[in-house]
Amino acid sequence: MAEKILEIKDLCVEFNTDRGRIRAVNGVNLEVFKGKTLGVVGESGSGKSVTALSVMRLIPSPPGKIARGTIDYRGENLLDIPFDEMRRIRGNKIAMIFQEPMTSLNPVFTVGNQIEEVLELHQTELSKEQRREKAIEMLRLVGIPSPDKRITEYPHQLSGGMRQRVMIAMSLACEPDILIADEPTTALDVTIQAQILELMNKLQKELGMGIIMITHDLGVVAETCDDVAVMYCGQIVERAEVKELFNHPQHPYTKGLIESIPSFDSTTGERKDRLPTIEGMVPSLFDLPDGCNFQDRCDFATDKCRGSEGEPVLKSIGTNHDAACFHPLS
């Protein structure tokens, strides 16, 4: 069993808005292991990114607030430690890649400056020359050709894929324990996506970091993750090892998600008539129903799901497989 490096317990994050208080993340439990990738999937607004930002303690406050829970990193609760201490961990031990490589880099500094800045903050023992050398080495590591020239260029001189590589180089400069990747390839073309995912996989093997992969693309999950958590309306509705989840989804929402991906039977060339869909839409966080949040879109919903016995809680339904459902599919 791999070493557990991060454990999120009962995390609740609330936001105050003009229309009242919403709970964007509601009782989330997650574990990250050394050298493994945890996938977090869900649709927009399901709380994936807020969970990630909580780990980094980057939830804007106000309006946001971590209402409850602990985030345990190697025996330390990240939510209790002082701000200065957190600064030492953020970017150094736990790093993050954001979705938009276009807006996450500073346009008025060269990419070299931006990588060196990370080193200057966290690896104070390095000299200026050593930092430059390390920055070039990082760019080479992420597969940027002629890194000694690229290092003096500005973000606008690089393509989208190159910028995302720079982001990865920046986040890995301090060889973090944990890398949080928030939709790292969503803005990229498939061919570039394949390059970046391959790169992350290779670097994970070399550096042994734990990765939290946040995505809405189940294809990316199937190809990169070891474990998967499915989120819906701020809660984890199912969690399992990746093959188990795809082969035996237990929560109707997970099953619906997997089925609604267009698939093509290339052996026969036959096309399915209609795509299976999940009817309806995600309920508003302002107006969540009693009981299970998925009840209105679920084919199996009963009175139990509509609140007669409270909310379904995430519980074990098999080896290393949890679901929050009163009527798991099995």
Partner: protein, 327 residues
Amino acid sequence: MSEYLLEVNNLTKKFPIKGGILGREVGAVYAVNDVSFKIKKGETLGLVGESGCGKTTLGRSLLRLIEPTSGEVFFNGVDITKLDADQMREMRRKMQIIFQDPYASLNPRMTVGGILAEPMEIHGLFKDKEERRKRLLQLLDQVQLPADALNKYPHEFSGGQRQRICIARALAVEPEFIVCDEPVSALDVSVQAQVVNLMMDLQKDLGLTFLFIAHDLKVVEYISNRVAVMYLGNMVEVAESHELYGGARHPYTKALFSAIPNPNPNVTHDRIILEGDIPSPMNPPSGCHFHPRCWNATDECRGSYPPVTEESLTHAYRCYNPNQVSK
């Protein structure tokens, strides 16, 4: 009349690059370069390629929302590139477009009823008040929105519902041909499936013809009868969609389709990882534009652009070495 609704011959769109103090033309980007294809009545032609390959420019040139530089576009046997502005407006009643972003393409100050009635006003259709109301309700019904949507504003709807409004607006003038420019790319997976189903149903019921542009290859493959692949302004391969996965001839098509992440963790497939990025369209490589990233490139490929090879009625490609596609 021929069985083809749309016939495009040697369509080219050149964007000049101006530079220097005098603003003289110092170069040009061929966003669409010598593209020819046909679309049958009732057919869906998918159009895929990486960002910047000219998909959107091609789609808009067909409606002359971007004026093509040269080439012919025959719609129902009429070359629309020769029409004047009035005739073209008349023609656009038959040719509509749906845009990618359902948030940006609806006027937030207009009610849904107003949005749907506007194209009818422009084209002078359904002038009678009662008749128009009936038509509006019929449109909402076709895209499965409730009748009370008429008096609501776009912000009251979710992304998927807004895209339904956009579809209804395109249908308002009873078109024959719709260019769908990334209509489901901005939507969540579960909603995306609903909209894809809706579009396929509408096509069947109303006999529509689609040009379906998307970068999500799975959706394109699913919805299209045939798929065209573009690379740096050129159409490199056209084939029936079920042929593309296994029977692709062009190495770029092979690489593109092998790059799709497979949502099935039980199988591992061999992936062709392309080296490098798309070259700059301002300064494309000589010969076949794909040769710097191609693992089969020969001197011939570096010399001149490969001609179109028509393997069958439905399958054509532009490559000198189409059979050595394994890597």
